[in-house]
Symmetry: C2
Subunit: 463 residues, 2 copies
């Protein structure tokens, strides 16, 4: 069907203002942060009501059209890319707070609300939405639900799915389901809320969500510790976790920190260490701070920590966080190959060593930069392109790296995508983390909720 | 098929010691705590390995047999009852700890491990398994997963599903799925772990679980407060929650407490109040205790609290908890009609008032005893049988009550089963909490994982 003919199907429903056919809109709404596939949607739709979304799905089924849900398009797996003439359904105009009750400590929102707006709404009500990550300024809650977004506070607060108490979805068949209705306890059969969370829009469209909020954290304090090796990183984690409720436990290598320092962030202390840990906790009383200092000294005595610093002010806390948060931007000029993987926490040291060994053996001139959320077993592997190497050659070699890394991931019972999802970029590798039987059941579940394959086809797996 | 013929099918696999055909075993393994349906299984099987479970499922499919999974049989919805000649698959012999790593703070267990044994294992390793409820001494983790068990610490620690990081299941088709493998972050498609949790054994059998553990709570402290009304209960909850991380927020009426006092537990303070709240928190520093006292005084000044007491020792903490924990046993002699329902927290006062009004209007001689986990919107409604009323007449009238209560639940978007599940007792009422479309998708999902309907047929819904 021609793009014009497709537009004609939706114009009576949405009018020309919310049925965009221009090239600019196609370019803007057809991509996410991956930029591997060229955007080529046939049309961009901007519904404002649940009823309009249902009607869009009805038309898609009747006419055999493919729909791509679109939130903030900050994804890193191309799950929101429309590269094959699909109809983009963007939720920018469904971005309102619908209901809030302080007693429930929960807010019901439309899917297009931006993560940061949700965080600010919570703060205005003396509460806290704790799922936080680099793209919070533009990602939308609907997209967060689609990928079950995680981020930097997972060790304490869990993933997006842990905060969604209610979910309204329109299935691929066009049914409107009102799942769990904001309840905390509800033992009435299969919990489809959790099936739609992380489904990357392949089962249906999220049209409303009820989100739990938490008590605001108080007196956040950061420790940055220099650590001689990976085994010691794990010992530090274990020592602190038995005693203090950590809100974050991040790690990065000296190499990673070097790139950030080159951008003007000061070194946290003079001693150079191969690895650094960043621990964050609420200093709810002086005793907690004292206890943290005792544990710090214990770790020094045991030889697990070389040096360290504890933030004495919010300004210092922010500065110490920059050591971790600015890694991605500081290595961006080196055209990094990135991979987001996880194993269970205890296996992290051996896993990292194996990956390091294979990459260094095969490509000794590649610089590996590790950082990540070690407290939950999630590491970001980054390999920087040597200056003299052509981009094409580099990425071709990185395809080999992917295969080796995923083979190691599989042997360690890990995940080929810890928090970025599968989309199109990891689709060929899904079998390294999920068995043939599991993928078979996934396909069957997809067909059940979306028999005509209108919902984000070609993402996650092929039918 | 005769019971003997059915036994012949499994004897070569399990031998006569683990293939029980005697009447005693049938009586023992065929029921849960509901006692409404008479136990009548054809056979009780006691597998010891995953392979044996797979073979049992294979035979059931080949021969068209119905399997009923059996854990500690402490359920309150008859989900584990075998009343129609089913084959019971009991997990008593699959009760081992398989793997533990302190760095992971997680333990991998077989499904037959008893909740209390899991709690004790955690304590021995200086950790904590926080899902706790009255039947922890005999319930098994496999059954807890089947019903997504909740209990008294949900406000802080969530439900069973929040602690399961890995799940091995044998589906109704006989496939062995290794779901999520203990990972904290894993964004690789549909998370079937959450589909099997709370499925009441209708999709497959849980054969292994990896369970996350928490830091052990320290210096637990309890406040019991007398409160003039339900609206004030909510204000007290809100006031404390903004400031202190509560590990429990329970409530009970003076009527409920009266029954416990009759069993020799002392009144917490002289003042009589219509309602009582029990708050628990970790007194991690003196400051937290001081803050709790300040909030207590603030609530007194506002007129939300009449009187109260804070535990000064572990012995006093235990005694105060008895006020709440011994309600069920103290009202048991009155043949109570019980219902386990939930709404969102903010709707609790209006909801309770409506239920009270309809029951008192229709049956003014019925005594209503309310108690429950108000912090998560979960209330246990108990109606005591008037001494002079015949049991049959009482329960017939209570059937009317159920209908009225569930109609109110439906209007309040609540749950007809907050934590006990659906099984057979709530099966006729599922439509009050789940829409026809949702139940339709549930049936379809069931058929996908269990096409021959061998897994716990007749529970949750009829096909």
């Amino acid at each position: 069907m021609s793009h014009t003919a497709i537009a004609e199907l939706f114009l009576p429903l949405l009018g020309p203002q919310r049925c965009l056919t221009d090239a600019d809109s196609a370019q803007r709404y057809g991509v996410d942060w991956t930029k591997v596939w060229a955007p080529a949607p046939s049309l961009v739709l901007l519904p404002e009501t649940v009823e309009e979304v249902q009607e869009i799905v009805r038309i898609a089924n009747a006419e055999g059209l493919a729909l791509v849900p679109s939130g903030g398009r900050t994804g890193l797996s191309a799950a929101a890319v429309a590269a094959n003439g699909e109809v983009v359904v963007a939720f920018d105009r469904m971005n309102k707070v619908l209901h809030f009750d302080p007693l429930d400590r929960a807010v019901t929102v439309q899917p297009g609300i931006i993560t940061q707006q949700l965080q600010e709404f919570a703060e205005q009500n003396d509460l806290f939405y704790p799922v936080d990550f680099a793209s919070a300024g533009s990602s939308q809650i609907g997209g967060n639900i689609g990928t079950n977004a995680g981020g930097i506070k997972v060790i304490r607060y869990g993933m997006t799915r842990d905060w969604i108490t209610g979910l309204k979805v329109v299935t691929g068949k066009g049914d409107l389901l009102d799942l769990n209705k904001g309840l905390i306890k509800n033992a009435t059969g299969y919990d489809f809320r959790h099936l739609f969370t992380g489904a990357e829009g392949t089962l249906g469209l999220v049209v409303e969500a009820t989100v739990k909020l938490a008590r605001r954290p108080r007196d956040l304090t950061v420790l940055v510790l220099g650590v001689p090796g990976f085994d010691e990183v794990m010992k530090v984690l274990h020592t602190f976790q038995l005693d203090i409720d950590l809100t974050a436990f991040e790690f990065f290598s000296e190499k990673a920190m070097g790139h950030v320092l080159a951008h003007g962030v000061p070194r946290p202390f003079d001693t150079v260490a191969p690895f650094y840990c960043l621990l964050e906790f609420e200093q709810l009383s002086e005793q907690v701070g004292e206890r943290a200092m005792e544990l710090f000294e214990k770790c020094v005595e045991a030889g697990w920590v070389i040096d360290g610093v504890m933030s004495q002010s919010l300004a210092q806390l922010d500065q110490l966080w920059q050591l971790r948060e600015r890694i991605s931007e500081s290595i961006a000029p080196f055209t990094p190959y990135k991979n987001d993987i996880s194993v269970t926490v205890s296996k992290v040291p051996a896993f990292v060593q194996e990956v390091d060994a294979v990459v260094q053996r095969e490509y000794p001139d590649f610089e590996i930069v590790w950082f990540g959320h070690i407290g939950d077993g999630n590491m970001h592997l980054n390999i920087l392109k040597p200056a003299e190497l052509a981009k094409e050659v580099f990425f071709e070699r990185c395809n080999n790296v992917s295969r080796w890394v995923f083979e190691i991931v599989q042997r360690y019972n890990g995940s080929i995508s810890a928090e970025h999802g599968v989309g199109m970029t990891k689709k060929p590798y899904l079998g390294y983390s999920r068995s043939a039987e599991e993928i078979g059941y996934m396909r069957a579940v997809k067909q059940l909720f979306d028999p005509n394959n209108v919902m984000n086809p070609g993402k996650l797996f092929d039918l």
